[in-house]
């Protein structure tokens, strides 16, 4: 029998048929839906007199447009009428088609990629899609999770299948263990710095090695979240006991003997010894340091110990100009205006615990004009409050907000002012992403916390 990778196995177990034009139909187990990329898909269904094929596979929530303050006002709290209409449209579509939705005022509402795993909707060996590129997050459970466009959302709703072609297999090994203070975020940014934002295009990445399996489930989610920034539609980590323990007992996870049966299947999923990958990268964990992006693409990243690079490349020169930086400036000398802790990359309970540990009994720098923490879900928020983390953030000078995407892309009012510079735990430093002419530096939660205290970047390992 030929040796298979984790991806090969999931592919085979979800392969429905080959259409006569040569493309394959892949069966989709779970479909997450949010307000931004779904309205046109539902409209398409209506125009063609179609209905979702398997409503039980879908979970919807509004996250991109939602305000992170005054949530008690529900929909009336959304000031922008166009945002409000989009959230209302999701309500209407879910009502019409009988789709389970965690609405704006539901305690379980949050960023789609946070609530899927939290609810036990995300399980190993599954195919999961969402009209959102960071669906790769769910690969942390050893599932095949991919972002899709709106036409594909409509297609999956109507057929429960995705028209697709098999991708190539890539393996990225991180050998050994990372130093204390170096997090999953640093690992994933380090990889992007090495292979580039197009390095994984056409591949499904499997992450392996001691440093990867030492990561908590939260850390693995952070890692896989940014597979898309490396160009790969999906990133994954083989499921192990940590995965099973995390899943067990969650509301939508299988229970009792069904759970045992599932675990038995999940244990067959890891790549076979000797399985062939089309491309393999090996990195040493000890070479990974806390990472900070300096430019307008996630691959424009350096170590906290480094300086802003000099280059003759037009793209790099443009990026420096946009970011208002000069080559040779030490990363540690870059001064900040805002701090954002949140997003589907880093808004889970573990992220909030790590950041709050640094902030405890400290105050943010006077230089910082605003620092906000946005938990990934209402349940993460509640958990953090029960541990007293909210008070630590508030005492340090942070604003404690309600769940949503928030300043990761600023579709709601949480945005940078023009030319403001932000240390952000999100995943994209694209031009204007966090606000028109705003400047984003991507970092881990602990690096963002320290930056808030110092008013500039600083090395968490010296702390």
């Amino acid at each position: 029998m030929s040796k298979k990778t984790l991806y090969d196995k999931i592919w085979e177990d979800h392969f429905v048929t080959v259409r006569d034009d040569g493309s394959s139909l892949m069966y989709i187990d779970r479909h997450l839906v949010h307000e931004v990329t779904s309205p046109q898909a539902f409209e398409g269904l209506r125009e063609n007199n179609l209905k979702p094929r398997r409503v039980s596979s879908i979970l919807a929530t509004p996250d991109h447009n939602v305000p992170t303050t005054f949530r008690e006002n529900d929909l009336d709290g959304i000031e922008d009428p166009i945002s409000k209409l989009q959230v209302l449209t999701l309500d209407e579509n879910c009502n019409e088609f009988g789709i389970n939705q965690f609405k704006l005022n539901d305690l379980r509402q949050g960023i789609v990629h946070v609530i899927g795993p939290e609810q036990g909707l995300t399980l190993p060996g599954m195919t999961i899609v969402c009209g959102d590129s960071h669906t790769s997050t769910h690969g942390a459970f050893g599932s095949l999770a991919m972002g899709i466009g709106t036409s594909e959302v409509e297609h999956v709703l109507a057929t429960q299948c995705l028209v697709t072609k098999k991708q190539k297999n890539m393996l990225i090994n991180i050998h050994g263990e990372v130093e204390e203070g170096v997090t999953a975020k640093d690992i994933t940014m380090f990889i992007i710095g090495k292979i580039g934002t197009a390095g994984g295009t056409g591949y499904v990445i499997e992450y392996n090695g001691e440093a990867i399996h030492s990561l908590s489930m939260e850390g693995r989610m952070t890692l896989c979240n940014m597979a898309i920034e490396a160009g790969a539609r999906a990133g994954m980590v083989a499921p192990d006991n940590k995965t099973f323990d995390y899943v067990k007992g969650r509301p939508l996870a299988p229970k009792g003997s069904l759970f045992d049966k599932a675990v038995k299947y999940w244990k067959t999923l890891p790549s076979d010894e000797g399985a062939i990958f089309d491309k393999v990268f090996d990195f040493e964990a000890k070479d990974i340091t806390p990472q900070v992006t300096w430019g307008t693409s996630p691959e424009m990243v350096v170590s906290i110990e480094d300086s802003v690079p000099a280059s003759k490349d037009k793209n790099l020169i443009d990026a420096l100009e946009y970011m208002g930086l000069k080559p040779g400036t030490k990363i540690k000398d870059i001064e900040l205006d805002q701090i954002f802790i949140g997003s589907c990359t880093n808004s889970r309970i573990e992220d909030l615990r790590a950041a709050s540990q640094i902030l405890k009994d400290n105050k943010i720098s006077k230089r910082i004009k605003r620092a906000i923490v946005v938990p990934g879900s209402g349940l993460v928020k509640k958990q953090a409050e029960s541990e007293g983390l909210d008070q630590i953030f508030i005492d340090a000078g942070f604003e404690w907000r309600d769940a949503g995407c928030s300043m990761c892309l600023g579709m709601n009012p949480d945005q940078l002012d023009q030319l403001q510079r932000c240390a952000s735990t999100s995943n994209r430093n694209f031009e204007g992403r966090q606000g028109y002419k705003g400047r984003t530096h991507l970092v881990s939660p602990v690096m963002a916390a320290i930056a808030s205290l110092e008013g500039k970047f600083s090395d968490v390992r010296d702390y």
């Binding site: 177990d13 429905v16 259409r19 034009d21 040569g22 493309s23 139909l25 069966y27 187990d29 931004v36 990329t37 046109q40 409209e43 063609n48 094929r53 398997r54 039980s56 991109h64 447009n65 922008d80 166009i82 945002s83 209409l85 989009q86 590129s133 972002g147 899709i148 466009g149 036409s151 594909e152 409509e154 297609h155 109507a158 057929t159 429960q160 299948c161 934002t197 197009a198 295009t201 056409g202 898309i228 160009g231 539609r233 299988p254 069904l258 049966k261 599932a262 299947y265 693409s297 037009k314 793209n315 443009d318 892309l409 579709m411 994209r428 694209f430 031009e431 204007g432 028109y436 002419k437």
Partner: protein, 214 residues
């Protein structure tokens, strides 16, 4: 699904930048739209205008950046976009494709594309063609400030060329090609396989019942 002609000639405009992400093609504030149309005026919004745009902002009230290539009279009618590697990386927003189409772009030439964007193109009758760095470079070296570059695409024979400059054969998945030429209804096509989908679901119900969740 919109159709595309088998052979056509177009006016090419060059955008000399690598890794253009979908946030640049259509910034976030325009994703609030619940329609697929009307996004053309906001294509590359922050590169095209001095002021920050929003949905519904009247064009007459806006200040355009005169030196941005799509704002130059000679290029405003271009329908082929030539650009650098990894075009359309980042977010999955199909709005990026809708905006390009609405502006009038029917074809994009680049050495490589973001994966999700590439997929989205074909679902909307936008032809994304991967051509060599070498020929992209040739086009950039020969572009003129004053007029667009003539480019022809022969979809049936999978050739793209510009007289006296280059000819290149390109790859395209047969199913994507078919979709473009026939203007197929993709969902209708897949629904022909409903029987196979049902058989598959029955198998899953037996083997992995937890994954059906019902």
């Amino acid at each position: 699904m919109s159709q595309i002609s088998n052979i056509y000639s177009g006016k090419g405009v060059c955008l000399d930048k690598a890794n253009i992400d979908t946030d640049q093609i259509i910034p976030k504030q325009f994703l609030k739209s619940i329609k697929k149309t009307g996004l053309g005026p906001f294509l590359f919004d922050s590169w095209r205008y001095e002021d920050e745009g929003f949905l519904g902002k009247e064009l007459a009230t806006r200040t355009i950046k005169k030196d941005f290539v799509l704002n130059k009279d000679a290029f405003s009618q271009s329908n082929i976009l030539i650009t650098r590697e990894n075009f359309g990386c980042g977010s999955s927003r199909e709005h990026a494709v809708w905006a390009l189409k609405d502006f009038g772009i029917s074809t994009v030439l680049a050495p490589s594309f973001g994966d999700i964007f590439f997929n989205n193109c074909f679902k909307n009758g936008l032809l994304a063609i991967q051509i060599s760095d070498l020929n992209i470079e040739k086009i950039f070296l020969n572009q003129s400030e004053k007029s667009p570059i003539d480019i022809s695409v022969d979809l049936v024979n999978q050739k793209v060329f510009s007289k006296n400059l280059f000819t290149e054969s390109f790859e395209i998945d047969p199913y994507r090609k078919n979709c473009l030429i026939e203007g197929l209804d993709e969902i209708g096509y897949s629904l022909k396989y409903e029987n196979e989908i049902e058989i598959f679901e029955k198998k899953v119900k037996k083997e992995r019942p937890w994954s059906l969740n019902d």
